[in-house]
């Protein structure tokens, strides 16, 4: 087997932003992979889609609001951000996100894109 120098990583976010540290822990991995110029993509499914919704403010509940760091994705060359349309619809949510680059995918597109990555980590 040949080792691949830059294996693509998909991070699948499944948890809401404030109730657990999962979203923050996943973000830390994304930023490190970005800063090492690795190919990293972010996926949001289930309650993970809440991480992308506009007008949230964690400071009201004394959370250091890591969602604000999402605006630094461009700086880290993290350009592929995908959200599952079905998860949005189930939650009666519109495409009103706090960052610009989000791509809304149908379930089959979402699955196809996710499994085009060599490594998938889920938080």
């Amino acid at each position: 087997m040949i080792n691949i120098a830059n294996k693509s990583l998909a991070i699948l976010n499944s948890k809401a932003p404030y109730g657990t540290t999962a979203g923050k822990d996943a973000l830390d991995i994304a930023l490190i992979f970005g800063s090492f110029e690795q190919d990293v993509s972010l996926f949001f499914q289930g309650d993970g889609v809440w991480q992308l919704i506009n007008s949230q403010d964690g400071e009201i509940i004394s959370v250091r609001d890591y969602l604000k760091t999402f605006s630094a994705f461009e700086f880290y060359d993290i350009e592929n951000i995908y959200v599952n349309k079905t998860s949005l619809t189930e939650r009666n949510l519109t495409n009103n996100f706090h960052i610009k680059e989000v791509q809304v995918l149908s379930q089959s597109e979402f699955s196809k894109k996710l499994t085009s990555h060599q490594t998938v980590l889920r938080f």
Binding site: M1, N3, I4, A5, N6, K7, L9, T21, D25, D28, I29, I32, F33, F36, Q38, T119, L121, R122
Partner: protein, 121 residues
């Protein structure tokens, strides 16, 4: 043979961690190369040298030590996750078992690139 990297996120007293240990031991016994184990989130507690479990409970920390000694299995501890949980080495106080290497998330980048497959537990 395939090269596998493992990420663990569950604490030592969780049966999910026992599953991960069994997986790793079985892989090593059958000649699969485990290039390293990365401890993240609540899994950092696996590295605590101060854990006290009842005698009749599964002694997770001893099991990690055994695999480390027998197979030179690298055990990488995420330092930020550890500090968040009160697991630090400072001055006279040593809380982290010797078999663990204090690492950062950069180690995960390396494991991901070196491994054929990454398995998360």
């Amino acid at each position: 043979m395939k090269k596998i990297a493992v990420i663990i996120t569950t604490p030592p007293f969780s049966n999910l961690t026992v599953t991960a240990l069994n997986y790793i031991e079985t892989a090593l016994n059958t000649g699969v190369e485990i290039i390293g184990v990365f401890f993240y989130q609540d899994a950092v507690l696996n590295a605590s040298s101060h854990i006290r479990l009842a005698n009749d409970e599964y002694q997770t920390t001893q099991q990690w030590l055994k695999l480390h000694n027998k197979y030179q299995l690298p055990l990488h501890l995420c330092v930020t996750a550890a500090e968040k949980r009160g697991l630090t080495d400072c001055n006279s106080v040593q809380l982290i078992a010797n078999s663990f290497t204090i690492s950062g998330l950069g180690e995960l980048v390396e494991l991901n690139n070196k491994a054929d497959t990454v398995v998360q537990f």
